[in-house]
Amino acid sequence: MAKRLLVRGNEAICRGAIEAGCRFYFGYPITPQNDIPEYMSREMPKLNGVFIQAESEIASVNMVMGAAATGARAMTSSSSPGISLKMEAISYMAGMELPCLIVNISRSGPGLGGIDASQGDYFQAVKGGGHGGYHIIVLAPASIQEMYDLAMLAFDLAEIYRTPVMILGDSVVGQMKEPLVPHPRPHRELPAKDWALRGKGDGEQRFIKSLYLGDGELEAHNWKLDAKYREMKARETRWEDFQTSDADLIVTGFGSAARIAKTAVMMAREEGLKVGLLRPVTLFPFPSAAFAERTARCKKVLDVELNTGQMVEDVRLSVARDAEVYFYGRPSGTGSLPTPEEILGQIKKYY
């Protein structure tokens, strides 16, 4: 049996990234993700990698841009207010088509908010938090093993689609400890990096940019990006399906909220209620088809989030026309994390 480790989610992301070949980490301290830069500052020198604690969130993500432009696997991590600061560069990298990993171990807001688990950053992550109209792939882990696995997957998806990828977690999945089974990075066919800057040598000049001023150039570029988003939607949606096949009510949610909801679903099953869980793992692309298929039969969906209702908009756009979508949310703040019993109460209310 493979060796099991007891680690925090934040460390699991680091281990996954390192296993994926990431040797460039640039970051800035902010709670609740400080385990990530601290771990990377210890491990990167041992691996001949680079760790820089930058002067700002902005500088750190721009360092990622530079390393990524050479084809290196590079990452940064932060938490909500820090991610807001990185949004300029994320928009640039979406336009420049640069692969990289951005981790948001989100905290509560708005503003300085607090350091508790929150899912208030769904809109920012999924709807294009920066300017200009773009999408990046957003992955939402709900366990420590998934923090590890998705960190690896993130780098591959980033290269396949030439895009920044975000892991959207929070302090529950970031700070919590759980067993982790490390494993080698799964083999995946990856495209050649024929765009990476390297010094032209005897070849053609390469340049990476996001400015297009020529007649029709920027429109063409945006259609190209849009085609990529449609390809992601067709090929990369991922979700967890838990006992939905016979369910009369499907609970949904992502990340830590879905984790609590899953316990509530198991409690409901013990009481004989036919309840299942459908948990999106990719928030962009959103697994719309999975919702459409299941709500062709099951007409009740209860969405649980640690906010006042964000992902629920995508759920409503995805379900069958005659399905009812109910929402239960707790906006973030100390003492606002819902209990499984609380969610079970909501299940019974709508069942």
């Binding site: 820089i52 530079g66 432009a69 390297r198 032209k200 990476i208």
Partner: protein
């Protein structure tokens, strides 16, 4: 017939978008000549900034990344750390480097990143239409200091070459101008020295080059060129402020 003067190999044979009398073209040429002299064209990654310098890749036949406003030194840090065997330089204007990118230049310099920075100071935001820059001289009228820059209201012009020379991470810092044949030859020497610092692994190097912006100064090219010598060189003294390896 012997050819005694030609376009540097690192520059493309294209027309630039620069206004008549603008010094960017001249400074581009000096940078390209230095790249050629060190044989760096094939191993260089240039870092373009925002402003009139954004089109570096149209004029230089080298690999280039175009970066967000002010962030060139941070992007250069990422490039150089990932490819320490490559020659990396940024080319930035005064709004980019001395206003929105102040944090990035100071900390890249203070970390002693092995990069070279060409800083073009023309006391104004050229691309956006002549607004006040951090280097705008006292009394100078711009589109956002229409009554002339007053220290009580807009503060003072900032001397970046001197400021950076105070940082331990900086190996070389100098200021040059291209308004006369003598100054131009000196500017070329300073740029060459800055590049030599990186080529020899001697640390962070910085050259500020004073430049004319006739269009936004409301002058003809000759008047603008004269203003560089008369007003700018008076406040922004030419010279070498740090030269740790005494190159």
């Amino acid at each position: 017939m012997q050819q005694v003067f030609k376009r540097p190999t690192s520059l493309k044979d294209v027309q630039t978008h620069f206004c008549p009398g603008c010094h960017h073209g001249t400074i581009h040429r000096l940078v390209a000549e230095a790249l050629d002299e060190f044989g760096l064209q094939k191993e260089t990654i240039g870092i373009a900034s925002i402003g009139c310098s954004v089109f570096l890749y149209y004029y230089f036949d080298i690999d280039v990344i175009e970066t967000p406003h002010g962030r060139a030194p941070a992007v250069a840090t990422g490039v150089k750390r990932a490819r320490p065997d490559r020659f990396v330089f940024t080319y930035q204007g005064d709004g980019d480097l001395a206003a929105i990118g102040t944090a990035e230049i100071i900390h890249a310099a203070n970390r002693g990143e092995h990069i070279s920075v060409i800083f073009v100071n023309n006391t104004t935001y050229g691309m956006t239409g002549g607004q006040m820059a951090p280097t705008t001289l006292l009394g100078q009228k711009t589109s956002t200091s229409p009554y002339g820059r007053k220290p009580q209201v807009e503060g003072y012009p900032i001397r970046m070459a001197e400021l950076l020379s105070g940082l331990d991470g900086v190996a070389f810092s100098a200021r040059a101008a291209v308004n006369s044949p003598k100054n131009l030859m000196d500017a070329k020497k300073q740029i060459r020295k800055a590049f030599r610092y990186q080529v020899e692994g001697k640390g962070f190097s910085f050259v500020e080059v004073l430049a004319a912006c006739p269009t936004n100064w409301g002058m003809n090219p000759i008047e603008a060129n004269e203003r560089v010598g008369r007003e700018m060189c008076e406040f922004f003294k030419l010279g070498t402020f740090k030269n740790t390896a005494e190159l």
